[in-house]
Structure formats: C-alpha cells, structure tokens
C-alpha cells in the first residue's frame, strides 16, 4: 500500500462521509437520489478520480460527473474513457453478475472500475470510477475505498427510500387525520344549519376540503325547491342557481344511483333518504390530482349520508316546530283558562282565555311580574296545589270566587308539569261555569214548565168531562124551563159560559206538546178569529186588540195546533211587554214577494201570507233582539217565562218554509212579521172555522135502536144515558170494555150502535169496537174523547164510525147517533 494512494483514498472516503453527514441534517424533499450521487462525485473528483458515474437501470437514472470540461454526459465520457471496451455491455454484465470489473490495466491508457450497487440486498445498478493515464494505478487501498463508498451509497439509497416511504406514510396518516377532523367539523356545521341553503354551502366547503379538490358541489332537492352549494379553492362558498350550475358543468343528481360514479373529472355520490330515494348529489372535482381512490369514494358516500341525515333532521325539526306552533295556537285559542305557576303560585305563563277570565294582560315576558291570582281564587287553589304536589289526585272541583268584581263559579283542575330536577310547575285549568250553571237552571225551569203543561193538559181532560156535563144538564134544564124566559136566559148564560170554558181547556191542552209538526192547510184569518176570544181574554182590560185581517188569504201549510199556540205565546209576550197597557195589532195580508226582495228575507220569490203581531210595549235593545229567538232566552226571569216561545215559533215557521222577522225599538214596541208561503195549487182548507150544527133538532127523525153505551165516568154515562133514552133509544150501560163485552154476549138480538169513550180503564174503546165489529159485522160505532183525535176510529170498518170530540152538546150526541143509524140502514138497503 503506497503512501500516495493512501493519501488519496483516505480523504475520498472521509470526504464522502462528511458530505453524507451534512446531507443527513437536511430533510430530503423527495425520493430523488441525485443529491447522493452528487456527494459521491464531490468526494471523488478533486483528486481520487476523473470520472464518476452511477447507472440505475430500474429507475433509468444515469448520473455522470467528469473533471474534463464539456464531457459530463455519460455517453461522451464512455466514448472518451472506453479504450475499446463496450462500457454499456460491461455495466450490464456487472449488474447481472453482481461482481466488480476492472478494465484496461495498460498504464498508458485510462482505466476504470465498475462496482455493483446493492440496495436492500438487491442489485440497484452500478458505480463507475475512472482515472486517466496521468493518475496512478488503482491500489488495494483505492479498491477498498471504492468498495466502502459504494456500500455506503447503497445504504444511503436504502435509507433515502425508507425515509421517503415513511414520509409518504406519515403524510397519508396526516391526511386521514385531517379528513376525519373535517368530517367531524362538517357534521357539526350541518347540525347547526337552520336551512337547506346553509347545509349545501357548508357541506360543499367540507367536501372540497376533504377531497383536496379544486371544486365541490352539494345539491339537494326538496319537494318544491333545488339548492346547489358550490365551493372553490380559495373562494367563499356560495349558492348556485340552475343556469349557473349548468354553465359550470356541475354534475346533476341521478335518480337511480346508489353507488358513487365518475363524471369527467368529478367524483359524485348520491344523497339517499331513508327510503333510498335520491335527494341530491355530493360531487368533487380534481383537475390535476388525477383519479379518486376507493377511500375517496367511501368518503363521498359518507358525505352523501351526512347530507341526507341533515336534511331529515331539518325536516323533522320543522315538523316539531309546526306541531309546537299548532299546540301553542290551540292552547291560546282554547276557551278554558290555562295558567302555569310554581308551587307557591307565582304565575309564569297563561293563555288568552286566562287573560280574559282573570283580567290579566296578554302573556309576555314583561307581563309575568305584573300578574297575580285574585285573592279568592288563590285561596281555593293553594289547597288544591298542595294536595296535587303530595301526590293526591283531585277531580275537577268547583268553587265560588270573586273575579273582576263579580262572583263567578269556577271549575278547576290542575296537573304537575315535571321539570327535570328543579321545582315542579303546575298547570291550572280554570273554566267559568257560572253561565253554564244558570243555563242549567233555566233548562230545569223549562222542564218544570213542561211538566206543568202536562198536568194542565190532563186536568183539562177531566175538566172537559165536567163541562160536557154542565152543557148537557143546562140543555136538559132549558127544556124544563121552556116558557120561563127569565130562567131560559140564565140557562143560555150558563151554556155560553160553558162554551168559553171549553175553549180555554182546549188551549190548556195544547201546552206542552212537542211532537213533530202535523202540517195541514190552514186559513190564517179563520184560525185567528177562532182564537179571538181567548186572545182578548189574555190581553186583559188594560190592552186594546186591533184586528186588521184581510178578508181572504190563501191557505198556508202549518201545524194548526202549534200555530195557535204560537199566536197565544206571542200575544202573551206582547202583554208582558206592555205592563202599563197598550195596543196589540194583529194583521194578515197576502204578499207577492218579488225577486229583488228575496235577499233580505232569504226566501224564494212567490206568494206569502204575512201575519203581523205588533205591540206598543217597552221594546227590546239590540242584544235582546239579537238573542230573542235563542232557546231558553228569556227576559222574564225564572218561573215566568220558559224562553221557548219564540224558539218554537221560529221552528214552526221554518217547518212551513217561512221566516219570522223581528223589528223592535226600545220604548216604541216590537213588531213580528211571520211570512208563510202559500202552496201553488189552492185546495179547500182542511181546517176550517168551527162549523155550526148542521142538523136542527126539529128535522131529527126518530129511529128505534138498541145502543150499548160504554163510559167509565159515571156522571157522563148518566147524562148520555138520559139524553139517548129521552130520544127513544134502548140504552144498555157499561162501565168498561169488559163489562160491555159481557153485555154484548148476553144480548139475544143484534146491537144497533156502540157509543164508547176512547180512554177506558183496561181495554181501550177502539179495541172494543174492533172486537165487536168482528163479532157483528156492520155494527156502527160512535167514539167520544176529550183528548184523542179522530185517529181513534181509523182501525174500524171505513164508514162505520164517527168521532165525537168532548165536550159536546147532548143534541150533537143524538144527531151523530141518528146519522150513523140512518147510514147503517141505507147500507143495509
């Protein structure tokens, strides 16, 4: 080993190590090995070698440095230094064999050494070192130095690769961490989003950042709108309208997509709702970074899900808000007062009904401190609350308390509102039931009135029987006093008074009937005239009744009984409205209602009979007038009026297709107009003024006949017996249907006529009659009743029976009996 060679080889190795140490201090930017080759050249070229080259066939790297100017390139150098050797082939051979090679040991020629370069135990190329002829021969030291340096270079290259790989791994993990960070930020951001616009802008921003894309888009569509958020590197995210989105080539959502797809340089992922329906798209664009990875596709799906979830949450939130609003409106509109307070009664919240009831201002945060319970109410509530908080269940309670200066009956219930740890709140529900209670009283009163009506009606029935007797006996009496004009006058007075009594009982009977209206054709004028006497009596002596009835009015269709009752009721109202006396005017007229007046009355055009009932009384104020037709509304107070009169009047008129109007002025009186339509085809009225007796006693023909008389009232039976017997009939008496049947079966000859009361103790009159008619076809029947209608004979053989309403005059009884008997005789002939 010569000193000179050692003097060159040692510094070469040391220089290489020195360069290497300083290179290690600075981090490599990338995997480029050129700086390492450069430091090899720097270490070798000063005095150890004249040409240094590194060939790496794997990376196609060829590094070459030469001391000769302009000949740095490997090709030029290999030409210069080859000296007949095919250097390329030699390098290939060294790389293939893994063994070094020296060429041209001729001292006059350049000579060099090719060493194999090994990285991670694998061939990574070759290192070529050459000296020109002026340099000395390669010594053992030189060869050793080259070996050491090439080995070190291999290690350095390995280290470089490792550092680069670890750097890539680090960067990748850093990106994953950053993406995770951004995803969490994105989900936090969309959670705070209050509308679709902020969701798409926030998410597009996150998507751009997560994918390190230059642009990103998030599009969402709701049932009626489309939202497109657009984020661009270095720009503020914004909303795009449809045309702008098209201009920018933003990808559109796909209806059928359930997986990510690519579109030009865009990566797209669907936004799918819980039913897997498309609600939009998440897309990111990369112009320079190339393809998107599988992880990117996963992330895109994740962002799509995030968008769908946030949209769901938004819609859910809106539903909740809508429900809350609805509930708040409901509570506020509720007619029951609702108040929230703490257990000490400090009021925290209340609804509008509470404001009205308790005379509080409408609820507001400012008003909270200003309201407090009325003392009376509070006293009653405190006990209720205490019970409630002890866990006791209390039903709705009622108590009287002064509210707003008036005694009110309050119905109260309360419930505890759990408030998560802090002191519980109490919801108190208050309802002012004072009016309800009064209404209930009035209904009860009306019921009492109805009951009285029924009692009156049944009393009237019995009373009718008595009047029939009085009439009967007075007729008998009139025959006994024939010739005594003074006594006859008295008897006529008795008869006239009895007739009036009879009219009154008829009116009494009509009270309390509530059945369906039985519509018949009615002559209004005639009906009014028929009740004139009663009306005059009702009005009393202080009042004047003025009649303004049209001579002829067309018939109307109405329930005759209810119509009379209505006239009576309204006359009574008029009388009550004129405590100091006044005038009641009753008028009837025919009116042709033209089309133009239809609107005001809400009636079809046509012909009407207008009945006017007007008084000069105290009149009504607006409130009373507007309520006068309401059921149970009365100004008369309990036990005076039922509050049903005008209600049933309106119901009756409406049932006939008419209207009733009210015109009233306080202090001037009240006028009711009743419009009743007239039917198109005029036919004979079914209800007529009571007709006078058609058969005069003088014309009466005597008929010999056997009559079975059935009447449970002994007095009536005796009267009828006497009347019929005096007229030459054979009369058999029975007190009941059973009695009658027994008599009938004992008879040896046919019966001529059955005269029977309808209402009998056990078997009713019509049933008896039907039984007897079956036993003896052709038997004629006269039915009497004070309460039943002519329906009582509907089940009997047509034409074989007549109905006689009580009270009747004895002569009527005889006339009807003769008429029936003669009809039977004609039928027999």
């Amino acid at each position: 080993m010569s000193d000179t060679t050692l003097a060159r080889s040692r510094p070469f190795v040391l220089r290489y190590y020195e360069h290497r140490r300083s290179a290690l201090m600075t981090p490599p930017r990338d995997a480029d090995p050129a700086p390492l080759f450069e430091q090899l050249a720097l270490a070798a070229l000063p005095d150890f070698a004249h040409w240094v080259a590194v060939v790496d066939p794997v990376t196609h790297t060829t590094f070459s440095r030469c001391v000769v100017e302009h000949e740095h390139s490997f090709h030029a150098c290999s030409q210069h230094w080859a000296n007949g050797l095919d250097i390329d082939a030699a390098v290939t051979q060294v790389i293939a064999d893994g063994e070094g090679l020296a060429w041209n040991s001729d001292p006059s020629s350049p000579h060099g050494i090719i060493s194999p370069l090994t990285v991670e135990d694998e061939s990574a190329g070759a290192v070529l070192v050459a000296r020109d002829t002026h340099g000395s021969q390669w010594s053992e030291d030189d060869l050793g130095a080259i070996h050491d340096v090439v080995t070190a270079l291999g290690v350095d290259l390995e280290r470089l690769r490792l550092r680069y790989q670890s750097r890539l791994a680090l960067r990748a993990s850093q990106r994953v961490a950053s993406q995770l960070h951004q995803l969490i930020s994105a989900s936090l951001a969309v959670e705070a989003s209050s509308d679709e616009a902020s969701i798409v802008q926030g998410l597009s921003r996150s998507a751009r950042s997560v994918f390190e894309a230059d642009r990103a888009v998030v599009a969402l569509h709701t049932s009626h709108q489309q939202f497109v958020g657009f984020a661009e590197l270095g720009r503020i995210p914004r909303l795009l309208d449809g045309p702008t989105a098209l201009d920018l080539g933003v990808p559109a959502a796909r209806e059928d997509a359930s997986e990510p797809w690519s579109h030009d340089d865009w990566l797209c992922a669907p936004v799918l709702d819980s039913q897997r329906r498309s609600r939009g798209v998440v897309a990111a664009h990369r112009a320079h970074h190339g393809l998107f990875s599988d992880e990117d596709r996963e992330l895109a799906m994740l962002l799509g899900q995030l968008a769908a979830t946030s949209l769901d949450a938004l819609e859910l939130n809106r539903t909740i808000q809508d429900n809350e609003t609805r509930l708040r409106i409901l509570v506020d509109a509720a007619p029951i007062s609702i108040v929230e307070s703490d257990e000490a009664g400090a009021v925290r919240w209340w609804n509008r009904a509470a404001s009205r009831l308790l005379k509080w201002p409408d609820f507001s945060a400012d008003a909270v401190g200003q309201v407090s319970w009325p003392a009376d109410v509070r006293t009653s509530l405190v006990a209720l609350w205490a019970d409630l908080l002890m866990g006791g269940l209390r039903d709705t309670e009622e108590f009287l308390a002064a509210v707003g200066g008036r005694d009110r009956l309050l119905s109260v219930s309360a419930a505890v509102v759990p408030s998560g740890g802090s002191t519980p709140h109490i919801l108190t529900l208050l309802d002012d039931v004072t009016d309800q209670r009064e209404l209930r009283e009035e209904v009860r009163h009306a019921h009492r009135m109805e009951l009285r009506g029924q009692v009156a009606s049944s009393v009237a029935h019995d009373f009718n029987n008595l009047i029939t007797l009085i009439l009967g006996y007075s007729e008998l009496l009139s025959r006994n006093v024939a010739g005594d004009e003074k006594s006859a006058e008295l008897v006529r007075d008795i008869q006239a008074t009895s007739s009036r009594a009879s009219t009154l009982t008829a009116q009494l009977q009509s009270i309390g009937r509530t059945s369906e209206p039985a519509l018949v054709r009615l002559d209004v004028g005639a009906a009014l005239s028929a009740n004139a006497e009663v009306l005059e009596r009702i009005m009393g002596s202080k009042n004047t009744v003025v009649w303004c009835l049209a001579d002829v009015t067309p018939p109307v269709v109405v329930d005759a009984d209810l119509f009379e009752q209505m006239i009576l009721n309204m006359s009574i109202n008029a009388r009550d409205a004129m405590p100091e006396g006044g005038t009641l005017r009753l008028a009837s007229a025919t009116l042709q209602l033209p089309h133009e007046e239809v609107g005001a009355l809400d009636l079809p055009a046509g012909q009407y009979v207008v009945l006017t009932i007007a008084d000069t009384g105290i009149g009504m104020d607006e409130d009373t007038k507007s309520r006068c037709f309401e059921p149970l509304f009365t100004t008369k107070g309990p036990f005076k009026g039922t509050g049903l009169g005008l209600t049933s009047a309106r119901r009756l008129v409406a049932a006939s297709g008419g209207v009733i109007t009210c015109d009233s002025q306080l202090g001037a009186g009240t006028t009711f107009n009743i419009y009743l339509p007239t039917p198109a085809t005029p036919i004979a009225p079914e209800f007529d003024a009571p007709s006078p007796a058609t058969t005069a006693p003088a014309q009466r023909a005597r008929v010999a006949a056997t009559i079975l008389l059935v009447e449970d009232d002994a007095n009536l039976r005796r009267l009828a017996f006497q009347v019929l017997q005096r007229n030459g009939f054979v009369v058999l008496e029975a007190v009941s249907a059973e009695d009658a049947l027994e008599i009938f079966h004992r008879l040896h000859e046919p019966l001529d006529l059955l005269v029977s009361d309808v209402v009998l103790p056990e078997m009713a009159g019509p049933v008896l009659a039907a039984t007897l008619q079956r036993a003896q076809p052709g038997l004629v029947v006269l039915m009497m009743s004070g309460t039943a209608s002519s329906d009582a004979i509907s089940a009997l053989t047509p034409g074989s029976a007549t109905f006689l309403a009580k009270p009747f005059k004895p002569s009527t009884l005889v006339d009807e009996a003769i008429a029936l008997l003669s009809r039977r005789t004609r039928a027999a002939n």
Partner: protein, 265 residues
C-alpha cells in the same frame, strides 16, 4: 410581474372591475414563533391577476383603491375570503391565526363591526384565530377606536402594522385593545447589534409591560434571525422562513411543516 406604468388610461377602469371579475386573490405568508420555532400563523396579502397585465404589485393598486374608496369593499371581500380559509384550516385540525390587513377607511365604515360579526358567524371561524392589522395612524380616529373595541370584545386580536420604534406614545397604547405590534420592515433590515439592538430591545421591553407581543416582518437571513431571537422578539416573518404562498401551495407547506417540525400547528 408586470412592470408597466400603472398610470395608463385603462388601469383605473380595470381595477374598478377587478372585484366583480374575480381577479383578486389572496396569498398567505407564514409567521413563525421565534421562541418555539412553531407555526404562529399567516399574514393575508392581496394580489391582482389581470388577464393582460399579469400579476400586479399591491403597491401599484392599493393606493388607487384607497383613493377611490373601493378599498372598503375589496377589504371586506379579503376579510371574508380569509375567514373562510382560516375556518377551513381550523376544520383540518390546524390551530393558527389569520392576520388580515385593514385600511383605516374600512375601520371607519359604520357597517364594519356588523360585517366582521356576520363573516365570523357565516364562516364559523373562531374569532381568536382572526387578527386585524392596521396602521398606528388609524387609531387616532375615535370611531375606529370604538369599532376596534367592539371587535376586540368579540375575541378578535388586533395588531399595529409597520410599527416604528420611538414614535408611539405607549401610555396611549395602554388604553387601546391592542395585542400585537409588528415592527416596520425597514427597521428590521437596518437592525444591527451596534445601533438598532437597543431600540428593538426597548420596544420589546415596553411591549412586555403592556402584555403585547412583538413581531418582526422582513426577516431575510439567519443573522437577522439570531439577532431578533437575542432581542426576545416573539414572532418572525420573512423570506428566511417562507415566501407568501397561494392557497394550494400553503397546504403543502403546512403539511411539511407539521411533518418535520413534529409539532401540531
């Protein structure tokens, strides 16, 4: 960069359209904590890239924007863009401040406080990560002081830019909500142990008394850095650390910085 005279006829017109034409863009220059070598934040700088003029130097167009009053809307745009960018870094996990230059006209604008609040809310940037930089002269206006106080209350940090030692009245500064003073570039360049050291040291001492941080801009080489470290300056900025980067580049810079410093930003 285009070195043509900015005073040609269409320059003003082009500048007027620049905001609408989306020709402005922002670059971000890193700031380094001199005590820890950590990443302290970025300063936001505006650039104008015109289709034919190329990138125009801010020195050429900022004075024109100030003269026309357009600086208010351009400044608002820059603030908004920077806040969104800052929030994006925040979302990536970085924690550093974004410093935005604000003109005195902008600070006087009656809508300024509302604008800042709106932008912070919309971008979701933590106010503590926004720093507003403005000149010492702007503070003379009482409206500006009022506006800055309100913004400072929100958590935004305030920095006096181009701070020249010797000039300020420190007692006046004590009453204002200032967090940072940023030493004038020229002053840092002329700094040397013989003449400037005592002046910078004086600034640092006065600033410490008011609990202010001191920043040096225009740090060009290692010797300046050593000197500033010696003088206990808190933050440095300049080409010695990093040039201003566009947003795509600075992401790479941040990544490497985090990787090789081994410190989270």
């Amino acid at each position: 960069m285009n070195r043509e005279s900015p005073l040609d006829a269409t320059f003003a017109l082009d500048l007027e359209n620049a905001l609408a034409a989306d020709e402005f863009y922002l670059v971000y220059q890193p700031e380094i904590d001199l005590h820890t070598n950590g990443f302290a934040g970025v300063e936001v700088l505006i650039r104008w890239r015109h289709a034919t003029r190329g990138v125009v130097n801010p020195d050429q167009f900022i004075p024109l924007l100030e003269a026309s009053g357009a600086i208010v809307s351009v400044g608002r745009w820059a603030l908004e863009t920077a806040c969104y960018q800052g929030a994006e870094w925040h979302a990536k996990g970085y924690r550093f401040a974004v410093a935005v230059n604000t003109s005195s006209q902008q600070l006087r604008d009656p809508n300024f406080v509302t604008d800042v609040n709106r932008v912070l809310r919309a971008s979701r940037l933590d106010p503590a990560h926004l720093t507003l930089e403005f000149s010492y002269a702007a503070l003379e206006d009482s409206t500006v002081q009022e506006n800055l106080s309100r913004i400072h209350d929100r958590g935004v940090r305030l920095a006096i830019d181009d701070f020249a030692p010797g000039r300020p009245d420190w007692s006046a500064l004590a009453t204002l909500p200032i967090d940072i003073v940023k030493l004038e570039r020229a002053f840092v360049a002329e700094n040397s142990p013989t003449n400037g050291a005592s002046l910078i040291q004086q600034v640092v001492r006065d600033a410490r008394a008011l609990n202010l941080r001191v920043m040096a801009s225009g740090v060009e080489d290692a010797s300046q850095l050593d000197q500033l470290r010696h003088e206990q300056v808190d933050v440095g900025q300049g080409f010695h650390f990093a040039r201003p980067y566009e947003v795509a580049e600075i992401d790479r810079f941040l990544e490497d910085f985090a990787l090789f410093s081994g410190r989270p930003l």
